[in-house]
Subunit: 325 residues, 2 copies
């Protein structure tokens, strides 16, 4: 499959590495809205201006969109879906139905196939919520995130006056995890499920007490959580907080038997050194399915729920049955 | 969907309970090779003689086959696949390709759809091996089973002279699990991965030392494992070992980045109070997909790898995107 990367931030760089590891994938090029001459790829892959992409209409089997969900993808994915098979990792859960409709209409108009919201949440975590709820209908599922860096929360802190840099870790609370695993199906508030750990580099003369107060009372982001704020130096930030680890847990417990006499637990967890590189691995696997389904004539918009798992693997169905079933 | 249960042991009884919990499923009846008058169902479901099933050709959307993999399913699944959409939990991994071919030929001849080897291993564990290997191609996966009752190993002990009853628990070894989770990708022997715990009721005058020796040296079943043998009374067996718990772990660790600089771990685990009732829950969810795909005209044999997850849920695709993605 001949893939293109559109957008070259952390996720685009992850996709470049993931394509290199896929024996059946070839990288046509990286498309950027920056000056292509200013972009140096990790593998020496060619860089093109974003608005040149239509020239490559017949040379690209699928475009991996590596933009942000806030402003990039809502415009980009429908725009490109008219001319290319596209895949994105749109992750604003509440806006997925609207994004789906826009992409579906564009892809159908162009006779192309699209797959949205593909990563680990939404993505692999969603799949696990679906499988578990179908198998154990009389049950309840819980999703925990972390320990890992939340880019959105880190950005929110950086916007506070006097903050030079910040990194926020979302941390699942052990007692909540254990209560869920016990099968008791507890009601848990936001505060009971996750802690928020903040590391902040403040400007030399900044009012640290005011910064800490501004973080801890910030609505939606921090006010509903127990939040710790630690001021550190720029060096410490570079040395200890340069990576982008993440992960989490999807746990469903449920009952079976005529009177619910048996309890079961299904747990899926991820522990990731690099959130963008792992997400890129998911994107490349699903791009394989996208290309196969497009070659069978499918059009419109799909999600991970619509993909038969066999289409994700470079192995044949016969080999999968023999080696993995 | 109108379902039938063929075979009424532990799995058939689990399927009966699982169908009761599925709002979109109706149980047409239980088909047994025993005298139907001797079988009392848990819910009062009707019982018919197995050879009457062809009379119900137009009233059954799918048959859930609840026989054993050793002798029942290799004959039954191809036989019934000529006249019905069928699903089984055939679990002799090495014979899956041959079973698939036989069922595929029969289903195609009859214009029916079949799904084999559907449970948790093969089944949900297989799916997790596939997803994880597609996402992290540069990695390695490990499957651990237990703590849980192995019926095959329990039966093997019961065949030893002087043994009245036996229960064997397969127990994953913690140190092996931790070594795998660390990302080190260790080489592990059978003995290093699992312990075998045996509880045995001996006949009054039996030679216990000889029984213990016979168990511990039994080829394939026990000789390659550290095995403990504990003699207990028939009462203790009834009181403490009457349940059929099981579960296990599928763990894949892998590397990403240009030089493999980042490590990731994907872990899926099950902790089940009742192995047959959980397996029945998997079968009913996949029977839903089977009925939907058959109504779209699909024929032949499938496995869990061929099923788009959305087809497992009673919810519409639109509702799934809105609530689970």
């Amino acid at each position: 499959m001949r893939l293109a990367i559109y957008g070259y931030g952390n996720l685009g760089r992850g996709a470049e590495a993931a394509i290199l590891k896929s024996p059946d994938a070839e990288l046509v090029g990286v498309f950027t809205r920056r000056d292509p001459n200013s972009v140096q790829t990790r593998t020496g892959a060619k860089v093109f201006a974003a608005d040149e992409i239509l020239r490559f209409r017949d040379e690209i089997d699928a475009v991996i969109l590596c933009g942000g969900s806030a402003t990039d993808l809502p415009a980009l994915t429908p725009m490109l879906a008219k001319d290319f098979n596209v895949i994105d990792s749109f992750d604003t859960h509440a806006n997925i139905p609207a994004h789906f409709d826009a992409v579906d209409a564009a892809a159908k108009a162009g006779g192309k196939l699209a797959l949205i919201s593909c990563g680990w949440d939404p993505g692999m975590f969603s799949l696990n919520r679906l499988y578990a709820s179908a198998i154990l209908p009389d049950g309840r599922d819980y999703t925990f995130w972390g320990r890992g860096v939340s880019q959105g929360h880190s950005d929110a802190i950086r916007r506070i006056p006097g903050v030079l840099d910040a990194r926020q870790y979302t941390v699942p609370i052990k007692e909540a995890l254990e209560a869920v695993r016990s099968g008791k199906q507890p009601e848990l508030s936001a505060r009971e499920k996750h802690l928020r750990e903040c590391y902040v580099v403040a400007a030399p003369n900044a009012d640290r007490a005011a910064i800490e107060q501004a973080i801890k009372t910030m609505p939606n982001y921090f006010a509903d959580y127990d939040t710790t704020v630690t001021f550190i130096s720029a060096e410490e930030m570079r040395e200890k907080h340069g990576a982008l680890p993440h992960g989490g847990f999807v746990i469903r417990t449920g009952k079976t038997g005529l009177s619910g006499e048996h309890t079961h637990r299904i747990e899926y967890s991820l522990a990731l050194d690099s959130n963008p590189e792992f997400t890129a691995g998911v994107l490349v696997a699903f791009a394989r399915a996208l290309c196969r389904m497009a070659s069978r004539g499918a059009t419109g918009c799909l999600t991970v729920f619509d993909i038969a798992p066999a289409d994700l693997s470079p192995l044949s169905r016969e080999a999968l049955r023999r080696t993995m079933l």
